[in-house]
């Protein structure tokens, strides 16, 4: 009897109320657990991104209704103040190309150098390289500004030791961009060192032993075993440093606060100036989307170019 009702119950289609109850019982906890994150994500990321996209086609001022202006903001982005944004794009690309290349190479070499060391000296050097990275970039930039000081700076002191003339590191428009770039290059790429040495450490010793039996030189081992096996780490780091260099702001804000002519304008400093000093929200939003587009394009190209074709 009980069995018959159970069967009947199971074969009978559920009514809508039961169905909802059933759904909640089955999946409710999953939704409940993602709800808090989903709420903050929607409120502070998803909606602002969509809204920013809308604003990039509008003229938004305080106390007035937003007005649709089509692509005007995008063309304004390039033409206002006699095209300073174009200079900012050029400067940022210059900065990105040099710092990403330098960071990857320096990271690769230093990670390789600390690889053969014992456990404790490895930990020591990794910590020494990583220490500046936990310090706020504002503070690091302040120190660099002080070291770049024309009169009393440490760098001109070093130059003086070898008989050089003092250089106006941050005041000379021909040099300022190079100085900003130099300060980034001389800051050891901590993330690259940590990730490269982790990747190198996880390569099985057997590969090298097999290569040694075949009589491979250490350069050959490096080229044919190490480099291919850490390719995915390299790809990650290239994208990571590219994004970081496109978004550079703190360093520039401290080193050259008002800019040295147009020679030290960067993309994010332009967004900051347009949006929050001149309150031209539309133009700032348009420039932010141009930055987004640039980052996305470069990342896709890098993925295509560096993706490993060989699976090990």
């Amino acid at each position: 009897m009980a069995r018959a009702t159970l069967e009947k119950r199971l074969t009978q289609p559920l009514n809508p109320v039961e169905r909802v109850g059933h759904f909640i019982k089955k999946y409710g906890w999953g939704y409940a657990f993602v709800l808090p994150s989903l709420f903050t994500f929607t409120a502070f990321t998803l909606v602002p991104v969509a809204w920013s996209f809308i604003i990039s086609f509008q003229q938004v001022r305080f106390n007035t209704e937003p007005k649709w202006v089509g692509l005007e903001n995008y063309s304004d982005a390039f033409t206002t103040q006699s095209g300073v944004f174009v200079e900012a794009l050029k400067n940022t690309l210059f900065y990105a190309a040099l710092t990403v290349t330098a960071n990857i190479f320096i990271g690769l070499i230093l990670a390789a150098l600390i690889q053969p060391l014992g456990k404790y000296s490895q930990t020591f050097f990794r910590a020494a390289y990583y220490l500046p990275a936990v310090t706020s970039s504002i503070i690091i930039a302040l120190v660099w500004r002080w070291m770049f000081n024309t009169q009393w700076g440490f760098l001109n002191f070093l130059l003086g030791l070898v008989g050089g003339q003092p250089v106006k590191w941050l005041a000379d428009p021909d040099i300022a961009l190079a100085s900003v770039t130099l300060s980034t290059i001389l800051t050891v790429p901590a993330t690259a060192i940590v990730l490269f040495s982790a990747a190198m450490g996880s390569i099985p010793r057997d590969y090298y032993e097999a290569a040694e039996l075949e009589g491979a030189s250490s350069l050959r081992k490096w080229w044919s075993i190490t480099l291919p096996l850490i390719k995915s780490t390299t790809l990650y780091l290239v994208v990571f440093y590219t994004i970081a260099s496109f978004e550079v702001f703190e360093r520039v804000y401290i080193l050259v606060p008002s800019g040295v002519g147009n020679s030290t304008q960067f993309i994010v400093s332009q967004i900051y100036q347009n949006g929050f000093q001149q309150f031209r929200y539309g133009v700032a939003a348009a420039q932010a989307f141009i930055l987004f587009l640039l980052i996305a394009t470069v990342a896709v190209v890098q993925f295509r170019f560096l993706r490993s074709d060989v699976e090990y």
């Binding site: 999946y27 409120a43 502070f44 920013s52 910590a127 990583y130 220490l131 503070i139 070291m147 001389l186």
Partner: protein
């Protein structure tokens, strides 16, 4: 003859080996000095009275070390203590929210099945590529309409939306054995009980890395606090330290005061790093897992 050949070969090999070893150490020490020099210079300048800092050649060792800059820092920037408190408050609140929210949703995305799960996770992941500068303008407009400009809540609330932690916790919780949860459920544990008694304790290593990652990230955050905080007493530490540059002494920046402020701001993070180094480096590694 043969033994002699091997012998001479061996002695000929040894010097190059030594040479390589020495070269390696020189390279490591030189790069370490370059890497740590700004940190060293930061502390030397912070402890040297401005008067002794601005001269050529500079003293390479802190021969004039004194605490006078720190005393003057609190005279010239009386809000310094408040900045530190503000930074601590915002970072601790943001970290607290992240530990709970990210573990909850990371758990759901890793272990629960529900319609739309992969879609939601995909959308969250895809926004990792979007530069944070994109959201500046609308977030500012909303903050303004909510009347939160110049309020620490304006820094805390958007900080809770950082999606990286969700990804990190999902990756970690996926590696935990599902049998434990099932056993707990059979023993009559509720869903919240499973989360609280099984998932949370087992995630402790990942939580440590997440907490440090989030804390450091927001401790050093600059652009957004710079935009929304206006009164000096509401600044967070990085914004406050940047504003120290305006302190002048007889027409030139007062380097002693600026660097005393910078030293005090850098110190907690340095101590924190040296104490929890393993977790810091773990966080960097876990963060790159996706690759």
């Amino acid at each position: 003859m043969a033994t002699q050949l091997i012998k001479s070969n061996k002695t000929g090999w040894l010097p190059t080996f030594r040479f390589k070893r020495v070269g390696l150490w020189i390279a490591l020490i030189v790069t370490t000095v370059i890497s740590l020099w700004p940190m060293y210079w930061l502390f030397v300048t912070g402890f040297t009275p401005t008067f002794d800092s601005i001269k050529t050649p500079p003293d390479l060792l802190p021969v004039h070390a004194s605490l006078i800059n720190f005393q003057r820092l609190f005279e010239r920037a009386p809000n310094y203590g408040q900045w530190m408190f503000n930074s601590l408050l915002t970072c601790l609140s943001i970290t607290f929210f992240h530990l709970i929210f990210d573990t909850l949703s990371g758990y759901a995305f890793a272990k629960k099945r529900f319609p739309g799960r992969n879609l939601m996770f995909g959308i969250i992941l895809s926004t990792l590529m979007i530069p944070p500068q994109v959201t500046l303008v609308p977030t500012y407009i909303v903050t303004r309409q909510l009347g939160l400009i110049d309020n620490l809540l304006a820094v805390i609330l958007p900080g809770t939306a950082d999606v990286f932690g969700i990804f990190l916790m999902r990756q970690y919780i996926q590696t935990l054995p599902t049998e434990l949860e099932e056993a707990a459920r059979i023993d009559g544990c509720t869903e919240i009980g499973v989360f609280w008694r099984i998932i949370l304790p087992l995630s402790r290593p990942a939580l440590g890395a997440l907490a440090i990652f989030v804390f450091v990230r927001f401790w050093n955050a600059f652009l957004w606090p710079l935009i929304v905080l206006q009164k000096t007493e509401h600044y967070t530490l990085p914004v406050g330290v940047a504003s120290l540059q305006n302190i002048q002494n007889e027409g030139s920046p007062d380097f002693g005061v600026i660097f005393a402020g910078a030293c005090l701001a850098a110190l907690p993070m340095i101590v924190f790093f040296l104490a929890f180094q393993r977790y810091f480096l773990e966080g960097v590694r876990v963060g790159a897992l996706k690759g």
